[in-house]
Each structure stands twice: as structure tokens, then as C-alpha cells.
């Protein structure tokens, strides 16, 4: 007989409760892992959306510079007739001359070209278009909003750091320097203290780098010394010896450089040089700008960017501005920064909602590039996809569910469709390249590369399995009683299917189609294969025009080096995601509103 007290002691002993604790702890662990997994997935989603939206915010607004430019009829319409080409050329010249008149101190070739980079290259063409539309503007001064170039736009948005005033309360004296473009500056107090710190950091970094390089050379020296010890031939010995000598000199030079830099760090604040890897310090005084190149405790030397009246200035009449982003790390030079600051002070800079992005086609200039062309291309592509995939998909599903005899052929078709759903999209692109493109070209006797017709057809084939599978599920969900009733009233098989089953299954079929189309809208790889990656400025007007589509546009822009393009890419992603959200919301709505539970 079982001793019950012994059995129950198994369950109330210390060991038992430890066992129970362990088992419960392992359950808690599993739960925590599960929550952690879901949390990680949510984190990834948030990080992704955060990156995209954060980067897209830079494209929400754009900067305009309003200038009043003379439009002489003699230049715009020399023969009394306005033409697009002549007006464009004249507008370019007029804008250029106006900018040079505004900033006469841009006198070297490099400075003039930098001045030309302040306004977008497309801005003067917009002026020309404005004049073409309103010829009465000829021979007047036209007040016009010019789009800022991408670098100017980014500067105003603060992507290249900002020039912040260094606090000071002292008077200053500016005297001519050694050459015409130099100036000497004398101060009552030392105001460079927090500039010194930044200089020290940069010098220390350079010293560290020199030390690293010296250490590498030193390693080399030791490695060659070891090899020299084991070398057998004279030739080798000679070779190694030369290596050792050259590396030793290099190492010593680097060590000396390091020592010099460290000394500069220690003595910083007494006399320092500012080069273009260090923070930019500008002096705004006497109606002009001076860029500091060297400073001691109470004196400084600088280059004049915009002419300055020499003399003595009281506290409050002048400013020292510092930008911690060094000149080499930004696309806007100090010269351009002065121009842009001057423009801002004139009050002609303003920002506006960037509607251009939503309304224009692609461009090589990021500030002019828009998403509309790609959106329309996507629209035409989706039309083709829908026209092909929806009827074919739903009819195929109808055949397989309602008519197909149960035999090996039907089985084969079924297996085939299931496998086709998992074929990588790039393979469909290869099919399009090898078969669909040549066949369509032969039918249309034209080159349809990058036409929505081809892209849409390839995407239709790709989404067909998705639509068929969803449609079959929808048709299967219609109860047999409906079919029996229709057949009982004398309808034929086909009438039953088309008049009764199909309408009842339609919400499900449409939901599947929309989900398939949403997939197709975001698909890129097959379109790359068929060559739908061309640079296309025009808005497509039909399915046979050359077009780009949203995802391909995103791919192309993401590859471009201009910084503003990465913001445009993110904005284009937002547009694509909004379309996808709308499509999926529509699918959910259809399912919720019309789907019947039998």
C-alpha cells in the first residue's frame, strides 16, 4: 500500500516548493522572451518610420529669395517676339547681373561661381516662364520669388551648423592689414576663450592621428628589422634596410609633428591659426564681414570677405559669430554664408510649403525634383496591372473552384500557382526582359522599355497568384446552399457561378486584389530588370509613354550624392507609404463592410 503521507510530503517539502518556483520562473521567462520579441519588432518599426519621417521633414518647406530683377525687352525679345529659348537665356543673364550688382565684392572667378550657386539653376527659367505668360512685364522690374539652391536651402534650415554670436562687451578697432584683403583687429578684452577650446580639441585630434600613424610606421620598422635578421641574400638585406630607413624617417617626422601639435595645444590661447578644418569665426563689423585667420589674446588677423570701413567700433556695433561646423565639412563656404546672411538680413528670404515636390516631375537638381511624374507613372502601371490581373485572377479562381474536374492537370495547376506565389520578384523581371518586352515591342512595333504597359504586365503576372489564392478562398466561402438554390431554379452551372456566387464572393476578391496591388505598387526589382530606371522629366500621359514609378524613383534618388536628395527620398517614401496605407485601409473597409459570415 502507498504511504500517502510520504506522497504528500513530496508536494509540500522544501524541494517541492523550489521545484514549483523553478517551473513558474521558466514560465515567466518564456513570457518575457515573447514580450521582448514583440517589443523588438515594434522598436524596429518605430525606428524605421522615425528615420523616414525625420528625414522627410527637411523637404516639407523650401526657401525662396525674393529679388526685384529688371526685365529689359531688348534682351528678352530682341526681335520683338518672345521665345522660350531667348527669354531663358536673357533671364539667366539678368538674374546673374542682378546678383553681381547686389554683391559687388564677389570679384574673383571662384567667388562669382559661388555667388551663382545661391539661387537654383532652375530659378531663372521660372522667371522666363513668368515673363512668357505675362508679356506686359517687359521693361519693368519684376519682383519674383527665386527658389534657393539646395545648399542654400540646407544652410537656411541649419543643416550646416549656424553662426552663433559669441558674447562680448568691449570695443574693437579695425585697421588695414598687410595686403588689401587683410585686416588687423584690436580688442580691449579677450573674447576668444570659447573659440580656443574648439581649436584645442581639433589640434589634439590631429596629434592623436599623427601618433597613430607613427605607431604604424614603428610597427613596420620592427617587422622589417625582424626580417632583416633572418634575411639570407644581400639583395633582400639591402631592400629591407632601405625600407627601415625610409620608415624610420617617416616615423620620426610624424612624432615631431605630434610633439609640435601637443605644444600648440598647451600654448593655445596665446597665438592660434584657424584653418578650414577648425570652426569658422566671422566678424561682422562696419558694414562688412571679416573671416578670422589668426588670433592672439587681444589682437586678431583676418581676411575681408565683404569690404569693411576701418575704424573704432563700440560694443554692440559689431559681432563675432562662430560656426562649430568647419568649412570643409559643409557645402556652403564662408563666402556663401556671408552672402546668405546678408540676404537674410535684407529680409528677402522666406520659406513656404514645398508644393513643388508634389506637383513637378524628376530633375537633376534636388530643389526642383518632384514626385508627381513618378506618382502618375505608378498610377498608369497600376491601371495596367489591375486591368490584367483582376479579370484573369478572378476568372482563374472561378474555374479552379467551380468548374475544374479533380484530376492531375488541376492538381498541377494548383501546385503551380502556389509555387508561383513564392518565386522571387526579380525572376519575374527576367521573364519580362526575355519574353514580355520583346513580344510587346513586336506587337506595337515600338520600343516600350520603361513604359507602364510592360511594367504593369510584369507586375500583373507577379500578383496573379496572390489574387487567385485570395479569390479562391472567397469563392469557397460562399455556402453550397446558394448554388443548390440557383441550380434548383433551373440556372445553368455558368449562370449560377456568374449570377450568384461571383457577386457574393466579390468583396473577398476585391480585398485580395487590392492587397495584391499594394504589393505591386511597392515592387522595385522586376522593374529594374525591364529597364524602367530611366531619368524621365515629363509627366506620362498614357500607358505607352516612358515613365518612372514611385519605388524606382526612391531607389534612384537614394543613390544620388546631394544631401537634399536624401531628404527628398524620405519624402517620396512617405508619399508611397501613404498610398499603401490608403489601399490597405480600403481593403480592411471592404472586408469589414461587405464580407458576410454564413
Amino acid at each position: 500500500m502507498v504511504d500517502l503521507s510520504e506522497l504528500s510530503s513530496r508536494h509540500i517539502s522544501e524541494e517541492a516548493s523550489r521545484r514549483a518556483r523553478r517551473r513558474n520562473a521558466s514560465q515567466v521567462r518564456l513570457k518575457v522572451y515573447g514580450l521582448l520579441a514583440i517589443g523588438l519588432a515594434a522598436l524596429a518599426l518605430v525606428a524605421l518610420l522615425w528615420t523616414v519621417v525625420g528625414s522627410a521633414l527637411g523637404s516639407v518647406k523650401e526657401n525662396y529669395i525674393t529679388l526685384s530683377v529688371p526685365v529689359p525687352a531688348a534682351e528678352f525679345a530682341p526681335e520683338g517676339e518672345l521665345t522660350r529659348v531667348q527669354a531663358g537665356r536673357a533671364a539667366q543673364a539678368a538674374v546673374r547681373d542682378h546678383m553681381r550688382a547686389l554683391f559687388p565684392f564677389a570679384d574673383t572667378r571662384a567667388e562669382r561661381s559661388q555667388l551663382g550657386d545661391v539661387l537654383s539653376s532652375g530659378a531663372s527659367f521660372e522667371l522666363a516662364a513668368e515673363v512668357l505668360d505675362n508679356p506686359e512685364l517687359l521693361d519693368t522690374d519684376v519682383e519674383f520669388q527665386f527658389v534657393a539652391s539646395d545648399v542654400a536651402d540646407l544652410y537656411y534650415k541649419g543643416f550646416y551648423g549656424e553662426f552663433i554670436a559669441v558674447p562680448s562687451s568691449t570695443s574693437i578697432r579695425i585697421e588695414p592689414g598687410e595686403t588689401e584683403s587683410d585686416a588687423n583687429i584690436f580688442l580691449q578684452q579677450n573674447v576668444f576663450r570659447n573659440v580656443v577650446e574648439a581649436v584645442q580639441t581639433e589640434l589634439t585630434r590631429r596629434a592623436d592621428r599623427a601618433a597613430d600613424a607613427a605607431a604604424l610606421q614603428d610597427n613596420g620598422v620592427r617587422a622589417f628589422e625582424r626580417r632583416l635578421a633572418t634575411a639570407t641574400t644581400d639583395e633582400e638585406r639591402e631592400e629591407f634596410q632601405t625600407e627601415i630607413t625610409s620608415r624610420t624617417t617617416q616615423r620620426d617626422a610624424l612624432l615631431a609633428e605630434e610633439a609640435a601639435l601637443r605644444e600648440q595645444v598647451d600654448t593655445a590661447g596665446t597665438s592660434d591659426t584657424l584653418d578650414n578644418r577648425m570652426p569658422s569665426v566671422l566678424l561682422k563689423v562696419g558694414g562688412g564681414w571679416i573671416k578670422l585667420t589668426e588670433f592672439q589674446q587681444q589682437t586678431a588677423q583676418g581676411t575681408i570677405i565683404e569690404p569693411v570701413e576701418f575704424g573704432e567700433y563700440q560694443d554692440g556695433d559689431w559681432q563675432i559669430l562662430k560656426n562649430t561646423v568647419p568649412e570643409v565639412a559643409r557645402k556652403v563656404s564662408d563666402f556663401q554664408a556671408v552672402i546668405l546672411e546678408d540676404l537674410r538680413e535684407m529680409g528677402v528670404v522666406e520659406d513656404a510649403w514645398n508644393l513643388r515636390f508634389l506637383s513637378s516631375g524628376d530633375s537633376r537638381e534636388p530643389e526642383l525634383a518632384g514626385i508627381w511624374g513618378a506618382a502618375v507613372g505608378s498610377f498608369w502601371t497600376m491601371i495596367v496591372t489591375f486591368v490584367l490581373a483582376f479579370p484573369i485572377g478572378s476568372l482563374a479562381a472561378m474555374y479552379l473552384e467551380e468548374f475544374a474536374p479533380k484530376n492531375t492537370i488541376t492538381d498541377f495547376v494548383e501546385v503551380n500557382i502556389n509555387n508561383l506565389a513564392a518565386v522571387p520578384s526579380i525572376v519575374f523581371g527576367l521573364l519580362g526582359l526575355a519574353v514580355i518586352l520583346p513580344v510587346m515591342n513586336a506587337i506595337g512595333n515600338d520600343d516600350f522599355r520603361s513604359a507602364p504597359l510592360i511594367g504593369g504586365t510584369v507586375l500583373a503576372l507577379m500578383t496573379l497568384p496572390t489574387i487567385i489564392i485570395a479569390s479562391r478562398a472567397a469563392i469557397r466561402a460562399v455556402p453550397p446552399s446558394i448554388r443548390d438554390a440557383a441550380l434548383g431554379l433551373g440556372a445553368s452551372k455558368l449562370q449560377t457561378s456568374f449570377h450568384h456566387v461571383l457577386p457574393l464572393a466579390m468583396p473577398g476578391i476585391l480585398t485580395g486584389t487590392i492587397i495584391g496591388m499594394a504589393q505591386a505598387l511597392g515592387e522595385t526589382a522586376p522593374l529594374l530588370m525591364i529597364g524602367m530606371v530611366a531619368f524621365i522629366v515629363d509627366i506620362p500621359t498614357g500607358v505607352t509613354d516612358s515613365a518612372s514609378v514611385l519605388p524606382v524613383q526612391i531607389f534612384r534618388w537614394s543613390d544620388l550624392p546631394e544631401r537634399l536628395f536624401s531628404s527628398r527620398t524620405a519624402a517620396a517614401i512617405c508619399v508611397l507609404l501613404i498610398f499603401l496605407v490608403i489601399m490597405n485601409a480600403l481593403a480592411v473597409f471592404l472586408r469589414k463592410r461587405f464580407e458576410r459570415r454564413w
Binding site: 515573447g34 520579441a37 514583440i38 519588432a41 509555387n419 518565386v423 526579380i426 526575355a434 506587337i443
Partner: protein, 461 residues
């Protein structure tokens, strides 16, 4: 008038509609309005005529459109050869294309007597072709319509015939999916065979070689078998897939377990859609994320840890690809875990097991085949994924298993070959061969996965 040829399809449709009405009315008249004595309803009589006209009209139109051009080209090439037998094939083709552009009023590479003569012939034949594709389909459509109209009678079984045609159309739609597969296989195999023929059938060099620079030196003519070793691509693909699965499988599986056995309905109601959103994001967006956020993040992390991580490291691409695959694993696993009968769980609880023990020792073993197939489908997705790796992985074929270095994948190389500057015919060989390899591997994975799922379903149904 020849411009009207483009309107043939519309004219065919109009004729079809007209015959629909005529046949329908004739059937009503044939029984003097007493519809009950008709075998088929009047609209079926009309439908039958319409279907016949559309099939014959459209069929003839497209066949004539394509075949006509071939015929013209062949005839003109024969004339060119007859006129100047010394011309090589390429030269004859050049003469033909020059003649065509002359006929269209464009500039040709050269203008001589032969070209002008051929261009006149071309214009003449094109005119004939246009006229014939305008008239033949329409006349044939009318003829078929009249033929069908003559058959309309009270006992004419129009419905059965129309339905048979409609069924044929339904069948054709279902077969298109099969035709797509056949098209894929044929086009891939064809280019692959041409490529292997170029390699003098050294398939082993492709499968086991370690040097992948297929386009180096192709200008000299043949493709060098020593430069088409695809092992670096295979290893790169496997490395990135492995990283992706290391991210996706644990996260996806634990998420599925939690959602199916622990989560409250409310938690489930927002966690599941969240995972589905992850599945709905286009891959090009993941690519952007990988290239602009993850890659710099890992590089900076490497700097902090003292590791040198390439900015196109396999790690960044793999992790982002893993994030993309999480929802596949989780939703498929969720399905199979839910499909494990409640009776198994109840039995386990009845024996005193905790929920965690039930999951680990009863539910997971029962769901294992389904989970394995979910993982296989995930792998097949990762292997075929293109945009993430094109945007975030490397381009040089670098044979390494170090996840911190840049590797390239099969799909990246296909995209590079096809979108590159090399002449399409040359680049197509290696690209389609890689595509065929990819197709075979994913097909194999899918077949195994689907078969496992099917077997598993049968077990508990």
C-alpha cells in the same frame, strides 16, 4: 486610310455588338415572341455571335500584326540577297533597317540604289499589310457573324455552345499562371544553356569557382570560365540569409508563441496588425533604412568597440532583412500553433504541466513541421530578396564569412549585370544563369515547405 488599322479592334467590337442585337432579335422573331419555346434565352443567341466575332476578329488581328512583319522582313531580305548575293547576313540586315528608316523619312547610314529600291518595296508592302489588317479581321468577323446568325432557330442550342466557349476562356485564365511558369523556365533555361555553351560546358567552374568577375575581358570575345566562379555569391547570399534568420526566427517564433498562448485579446488586437504593417512595407524602404540608418549605426558601433565594420557590411543588410522576415515567421507560426488541437493542450494541463511546459513539450513538437516550413519559406524569401541587398550590401565578389565585411549576393549581381553598361546580350548569360539558380533553389525550398505543411494539416484535420 492606313492609319485606321489601329482602330480594327474597336471596329471588331462594334460589329460584335451589332450582331449581338441582331441575333437576339432574330431569335425572338423566330418564335414570334413566345420565348418559352426557345431552347436558349435570346441573349445567349446574341452572346454566341458576339463571342465568335471577338475571338475570330481579335485572333486574326494579332496574328496578322506579328506574322505580317516577319513575312515582310523575310521577303525583303530575300530580295536583297537576290539583288546582291555577295552581302553577308549582317550587311543584308543593315540594308533592310536603312531601307526602313528611309521609308519612314528618317536618316539612314547610307543611301544607294538598292536601299532606295528596297525602301520603295517596304513602303508598298507595309501599305498592303496595313490594308489587310484593316479589312481581313473585319470581313472575317462579319462572315462568322452571318454564319452564326443563319443558325439561329428555336431549337438551336446557343446556351450550351456559348457556355462551352466561356468555360474555355475561364480555363485559359487558369492556364496563364502555368504559362507564366513555363515562360520563366524556358527563358531562364535558354540563356543558361547559351551561357554554359560559351563556357564549353565547364559547369563545375560556375558552381565551384571562387573568382567572380564575369564581364572582365568579355570584349575579347569569349567568356573566361575561370572568371565565373559563383561561390563568393553563394557564400554571400547564405551569410546574409543566415544573419536574417538569426534575427527573424527567434523574434518571430517567440512573438508567435506569446500571441497565441499568453496574450490577452486586446494585446493581440494591436500586436498582430503591427507585425502585419512590417510585412506591408516595400523592400525599397527597408533598403533605404538599411543604407542610411543601420549601416552607419553598425559602423559607428564598430568604432566604439574597436572593430572595423564595413559601411556595406553583411550585418546591416542581414539584420534589416531579418526585420522584414519577422512577420512571415510569426504569422505562419501563429497559424500552425493555433492549429494544434486544444485537446492536446488540455491533456497536458490535466497532467499538471504549466503553460510554458505545455508549449515547450506538447505544442511546439506538434507544430514543429509547420514551423520548419515557415522557416523554409522565410529562407526562400531572404534568398530572393533584392532591394535591401542592392541598396545596402556590397557589390564586389568577396569570398568571406565575416559578417563585418562587405559581401555580395546572387540578386545584387543579377541587378548589376542587367542594369550595367555592358551590352545586353553579353550580360544576359551570367545574369540569367544566376536567375535560374535562384529560381531552382527557391522552388525547391517552397516545394519542401508546402509539402510539409500539407502533410501536417492532414495530421490534425
Amino acid at each position: 486610310m492606313t492609319a485606321l488599322a489601329g482602330f480594327t479592334p474597336y471596329l471588331v467590337m462594334i460589329i460584335g455588338a451589332a450582331f449581338f442585337v441582331v441575333a437576339r432579335n432574330k431569335s425572338i422573331q423566330s418564335v414570334s415572341g413566345n420565348l418559352a419555346s426557345l431552347h436558349s434565352r435570346p441573349s445567349f443567341h446574341g452572346l454566341l455571335s458576339l463571342l465568335w466575332i471577338l475571338i475570330v476578329g481579335f485572333g486574326l488581328y494579332f496574328v496578322m500584326l506579328i506574322v505580317g512583319r516577319w513575312v515582310i522582313d523575310a521577303a525583303l531580305l530575300n530580295e536583297i540577297r537576290a539583288a546582291d548575293p555577295s552581302l553577308l547576313d549582317i550587311q543584308a540586315n543593315l540594308v533592310l533597317s536603312d531601307a526602313k528608316s528611309l521609308a519612314q523619312g528618317n536618316i539612314a547610314s547610307r543611301t544607294d540604289e538598292l536601299r532606295v529600291a528596297i525602301s520603295d518595296r517596304f513602303a508598298e508592302m507595309t501599305f498592303m499589310h496595313r490594308v489587310s489588317i484593316l479589312f481581313v479581321p473585319i470581313l472575317a468577323g462579319v462572315a462568322v457573324g452571318l454564319w452564326q446568325l443563319s443558325k439561329v432557330a428555336p431549337e438551336w442550342r446557343a446556351r450550351n455552345r456559348a457556355e462551352r466557349i466561356l468555360r474555355g476562356i475561364l480555363f485559359t485564365c487558369a492556364v496563364i499562371a502555368v504559362l507564366t511558369t513555363i515562360g520563366i523556365v524556358i527563358s531562364l533555361i535558354f540563356e543558361t544553356l547559351v551561357f554554359f555553351d560559351n563556357l564549353e560546358w565547364r559547369i563545375d567552374k560556375f558552381l565551384f569557382g571562387t573568382n567572380w568577375t564575369p564581364l572582365a575581358g568579355v570584349s575579347e570575345g569569349r567568356i573566361d570560365p575561370d572568371r565565373v566562379g559563383a561561390v563568393p555569391l553563394f557564400v554571400g547570399t547564405m551569410l546574409i540569409t543566415l544573419i536574417a534568420m538569426l534575427v527573424a526566427v527567434p523574434i518571430g517564433l517567440f512573438a508567435a508563441i506569446y500571441l497565441s498562448d499568453f496574450a490577452s485579446p486586446r494585446f493581440r488586437a494591436w500586436a498582430k496588425p503591427m507585425l502585419e504593417i512590417l510585412a506591408g512595407i516595400p523592400t525599397v524602404v527597408y533598403g533605404f533604412f538599411a543604407a542610411t540608418t543601420m549601416a552607419p549605426f553598425f559602423r559607428d558601433l564598430g568604432d566604439v568597440l574597436g572593430l572595423s565594420i564595413a559601411s556595406e557590411s553583411a550585418l546591416a543588410a542581414g539584420v534589416v532583412m531579418g526585420i522584414m522576415i519577422i512577420p512571415f515567421i510569426s504569422s505562419l507560426s501563429d497559424d500552425v500553433i493555433n492549429a494544434v488541437p486544444q485537446s492536446l493542450r488540455d491533456g497536458s494541463y490535466g497532467l499538471g504541466a504549466t503553460r510554458a511546459e505545455t508549449i515547450r513539450q506538447v505544442v511546439l513538437p506538434a507544430a514543429l513541421p509547420g514551423i520548419v516550413s515557415a522557416v523554409l519559406l522565410g529562407i526562400s524569401r531572404a534568398v530572393g530578396e533584392t532591394m535591401i541587398v542592392v541598396m545596402a550590401a556590397g557589390q564586389g565578389a568577396n569570398l568571406t564569412v565575416n559578417p563585418l565585411e562587405a559581401v555580395t549576393t546572387v540578386t545584387v549581381q543579377i541587378v548589376m549585370l542587367i542594369t550595367g553598361d555592358t551590352e545586353a546580350a553579353t550580360a544576359a548569360g551570367p545574369a540569367f544563369t544566376l536567375g535560374f539558380t535562384l529560381f531552382c533553389v527557391t522552388l525547391l525550398l517552397n516545394v519542401i515547405a508546402l509539402r510539409t505543411v500539407r502533410k501536417y494539416r492532414e495530421l490534425y484535420d
